[in-house]
Symmetry: C2
Subunit: 282 residues, 2 copies
């Protein structure tokens, strides 16, 4: 087991206090690379990430590379992701890989080995997972992450309208799928961290009507609120609906970091403004 001081929760809390809870999403789509004057290639994706880190002078709590936008370049894209991840981690910026992985037993453990095993080329600090096979099925995955001082974020409520019906369907117990996940996340965090903040976080869209209720049901978990900016949520939405999770809620911006232009200097201006606003969540 990791020591408390080096656990994912302790490291993330320390970075949040130092640099604000802003999570910077790195989504090197063709559109974003073009806007940055970069080639639509693995090299372009790497350079985009390097530019964002340099613009922030590495003074960020965490970055969230979206795996899909690197995977589209095959093994070269993964190699770029490895280089970017190592660069960030060497300067203590935490890396949350957004891949929404999930599988059972030894397959789940194999995913986790790729992200958390000693010497893994794509070593990260945390990953996103999907719970369609049941959160219990991810136990081997989560155990492996926690043993390596990593974190796991579970998608609980997504902001897209197509997710509502499934995520609010009712189990035999009467709870909704999302409510039951919150309960299970709480149990896992208690198991791993006692009364402290645990290594299992939740992904909850800030525009979801039930966001506040989900946050209230997660008193010891980090909460990732994706899609702030381009997907319609604002930092004010996050504060209104999720303010109860003070210093645990991570508003995530991706396309919005280009709001003032794509040069390093433009990016710095935007990132500093966003971090300043995000400090209202501390």
């Amino acid at each position: 087991m990791p020591t408390l001081a080096s656990s994912f929760a302790a490291r993330l809390s320390q970075r949040i206090q130092a640099h604000s809870p802003l999570c910077v999403g790195l989504d090197p789509s063709a559109a974003i690379l073009t806007a940055c004057g970069l080639p639509d290639s693995a090299a372009g994706a790497l350079e985009f990430g390097q530019r964002v880190l340099a613009a922030a002078r590495f003074e960020l709590a965490l970055i969230k590379p979206q795996s899909a936008f690197f995977e589209r370049f095959g093994s070269a894209g993964i190699a770029a992701l490895e280089e970017l991840t190592a660069l960030a981690r060497a300067r203590e910026v935490l890396v949350l890989l957004d891949g929404k992985r999930g599988d059972i037993d030894s397959t789940g453990a194999a995913y986790a080995a790729g992200y958390f095993a000693p010497g893994a080329p794509l070593r990260v600090d945390a990953v996103t997972t999907h719970p369609y096979l049941g959160l219990g099925a991810l136990r081997a995955f989560i155990d492996c992450a926690v043993a390596a001082e990593g974190g796991v974020f579970v998608v609980v409520r997504s902001s897209n309208p197509e997710g509502f019906a499934l995520q609010t369907a009712r189990l035999a117990s009467g709870a909704t799928v999302a409510q039951d996940l919150c309960r299970q996340i709480g149990e896992l965090n208690q198991h791993y961290a006692g009364t402290g903040i645990g290594p299992v976080g939740a992904v909850i869209g800030a525009t979801c009507e039930d966001a506040a209720a989900a946050v209230a049901a997660l008193p010891a978990a980090f909460i990732l609120a994706p899609g702030v900016g381009a997907q319609g949520a604002t930092l004010e939405d996050v504060r209104t609906r999720m303010g109860a999770a003070r210093a645990r809620v991570l508003p995530s911006v991706s396309r919005a970091i280009l709001a003032n232009g794509a040069s390093e200097s433009d990016l710095r201006t935007t990132l500093r403004a966003l971090q300043s606003q995000a400090r209202a969540l501390l």
Copy 2:
């Protein structure tokens, strides 16, 4: 749009008739590589896949590499997967990549571009997806796959016990999550393929009590039945519960291909026997 003759459904149906509906899972775990006398590395994973294809003399309908067991080696693992995938496809063995991916809008399209865009280094014939964000959210992903004559399998019912509660939760409509997915898969297949077999398949565990009902609700979809052998289901279970999907149900074996040993000759013996049994599903 692809022509009917070159569509994923047409190509897979032709291969099933020629070689049986057996789907050969390639799960190069540390345990399997050790059993094969191969190094636990990307090179070992590639050699394992090459050995299975050679043992079968490429006379297989399809292989199903499990992405996790390649991803654990980072970019080198993906490079191995690219080489293996190209080898199989050059000999007309279809490749179903088991990665259970899923994300919304442009992110979903980026995943699909990695598997289906012209010139993609990891070009495959089909992929598995998870529907936690709602099947409707995968529309960009599926459109991209179908435009490239590819297929998409959606996890509907998994055989692990932890999946039951979520997958059978009830929507506001009264249908269960799984039942509603079957309905939506039917609508998508009708949209893409009219009355023929469509490009959207379902993953259903053969040991699920409701497997027969799910199959009955999917009259125009391929059905992948994973975990035959090691995970407790037998080909007889598949025949009993899913026999209604004649020539559309794909029993998938992974660890069980090593039942008689790990040499090329041993693998050939086992694969031929499994294919012979699987022909009962035609």
